[in-house]
Symmetry: C2
Subunit: 383 residues, 2 copies
């Protein structure tokens, strides 16, 4: 399934030896057409990895034949040599696939500031190309994992056409425009503009509203490739909704596997004056370390929600704020509400509703708690 659920795609995932532990670390996704339309969104971090700079150029043509993805190294902050390495990766894939290098997107993930072992990457591309298969989606999804404990795939099938995808991401997970590495494929018969519209609409309300640890990556990439192999051109609204569903599902899987997390926290901001206000407030709550610690300790500490709201520029009056945690309205009119002892915090999912009483707009941000395991995972070794 995964990226090979849609007709017209093959994929492979192999262990090229980039990771010292021998785990799978190189994936190849190939669009066999007849179309080779594509769209993409990339990190808004101004420090961009070499593969992001390269793939931005590739996608500008609206035509992508294949994607090479590696884990085991982000190839970020690696200077001119890093960019040459990405270029060489695309050239190698172009050679073995018989395509042009300008149609090969490249994605990398792993430690920042380290050059890739290019001999292993280039040899791995040959090995992967030899294993390309219509059933290779699962292996490709496995090969892009870093600190992920599970691989993430999603498929939506409609009347004769399909959108599928894979994602990786567990830390440095606070996308500004996209999140980590995601490849989506479809056999719908649509051009690059249609893909671009659907992809931007979907990521804006899904990956862009996942904020696990407030740390924006240098490598975030979401690619959407269309083969047209179904011969069906769905309506744009229907297609966009299918893409949104796959993105939403993958985003939810990213949160569910975030580093060290024991709680998945849905921060729903309601009655905001504008959608931007709702997103700003949601993100401020989602990034409050003290609140994230409290929720880890199963303490519905709504004071920390209010102190986070108070740091934003959103329209609200402090004495009209309401907060519900898991259905209990613990804060009414900016002050003490129902008894916090009534809040049942035993489950993994926590639902916070912050009511700004300032309008009718809403937005939902997904985040995680902050745990000793997160600290351990990010302090015990370089990642």
């Amino acid at each position: 399934m995964s990226v090979t659920a849609a007709k017209g795609f093959t994929a492979a995932g192999i262990a090229a030896g980039i990771k010292e532990n021998g785990n799978p670390d190189l994936a190849l996704v190939v669009n066999d057409g007849p179309r080779r339309a594509a769209a993409a969104v990339f990190t808004s971090n101004r420090v961009k990895a070499a593969p992001v700079l390269w793939s931005e150029q590739v996608v500008r043509s609206g035509q992508v034949s294949a994607v090479v993805l590696n884990s085991g190294g982000a190839n970020a902050c690696t200077g001119p040599q890093g960019f040459q390495d990405t270029h060489a990766t695309a050239e190698k894939a172009a050679e073995v696939l018989g395509r042009g290098a300008v149609e090969i997107a490249v994605c990398s993930t792993g430690l920042i500031g380290v050059l890739l072992p290019m001999d292993k990457v280039l040899a791995g591309i040959g090995t992967a190309a030899a294993q390309l298969s219509e059933h290779g989606g699962e292996k490709a999804a496995l090969a892009i994992k870093t600190t992920d404990t599970v691989h993430k795939t999603s498929v939506v099938t409609r009347d004769g056409w399909t959108v599928g995808g894979m994602a990786k991401g567990a830390g440095m997970l606070a996308p500004g425009l996209a999140t980590m590495l995601v490849v989506l494929t479809t056999d719908a018969d649509l051009d690059g503009d249609a893909l671009d519209g659907a992809l931007r609409a979907a990521t804006r309300v899904t990956f862009d509203r996942v904020d696990s640890d407030g740390c924006m990556s240098t490598n975030d990439t979401v690619l959407l490739l269309a083969s047209g192999a179904s011969g069906i051109a769905p309506g744009l609204a229907e297609f966009a909704e299918a893409v949104r569903q796959v993105c939403d599902d993958l985003g939810r899987q990213l949160i569910g596997d975030a580093e060290g997390a024991s709680k998945d926290i849905k921060v729903e901001v309601v009655n905001a004056a504008t959608e931007d206000d709702a997103v700003e407030v949601g993100r401020s709550i989602a990034r409050n370390n003290l609140l994230k610690c409290a929720l880890h300790g199963e303490d519905p500490n709504w004071g920390r929600v209010l102190s986070a709201i108070g740091t934003t520029r959103a329209a609200f009056e402090p004495d009209r704020l309401n907060v519900a945690i898991n259905g209990v309205r613990v804060c009414k009119n900016g002050s003490v509400g129902e008894d916090r002892e009534l809040v049942d915090m035993r489950y993994r999912e926590v639902h916070i509703v912050a009511d700004l009483s300032a309008g009718t707009e809403t937005a939902t941000i997904w985040t995680n708690d902050l745990t000793a395991d997160y600290v351990h995972e990010n302090s015990a070794y370089s990642s």
Copy 2:
């Protein structure tokens, strides 16, 4: 010493029973004149505690006779009743001290969203007033502690006049304008405008540049009281420098005692286009949880510094960024620099220099690492 180092001040600190564990929790600082000039800065959090709303009014007159401070409860998000409680606190202090309530500032710290036990607060004010002493500064500093492991005081003495102070703060420590509770006293013979100028200049480059955990409090207050008891009116520049030194020393003590921290991290941003750019970049680095975890693990992970810089709006080119950690230039021109193995990370203080190569401005932000102890302290019980 502390707030009673300057002539013209008495203070007391007692256990009023606000804290369930019986620790000191109520302090009184009284200005015996002849002057009763004052200035203050308060949190820029828009959700402000009742004592902040009250004290803002008091300080507007430029005249403060006394300050009542309590730990064991922040009296924040407590609605009209909370404000009435602060008012009653000031009225009680006015009564026992023979002053007007409009000259009594009030500061509270502790859990948000809980009403104070007012019977204990009011009785405690009487007890504290009976124990006022020229040597009471130390006890006052002890009574305002919450999760602080040590009390914080500082004194600078010049030719015939003195600036002294006390501070509390260990978590929710990312001031927008001031930090946590700080009372500064001086016997210099200066009016409210002179105090205000010196205090704002000092806090802008000291407390405002302390950012332990990115969480801005609802109760931050810094008060500066002048008794004029020395009979000396120092030059404003000299006075401002003395106030800055005391603020700098107290701010450094706050970082040194931050919840769960094992590293004090000095983030120095140099060669920025503007001071605002330098502060924005410094704060972005200081708030990056992944970097804070890495430094806890004694890993000089400069990639996380660059990814944090990349999220700001500051002027810079990615390929002109340089980063030194403890004197080793681990990142040159946005890419791999000297060997990260050369960085000695054994000591509590870590010094990061981020060179934007974009101008001549500089700023320093102090922060801490992120540790499992921080998570434990903020998840195991409500604070």
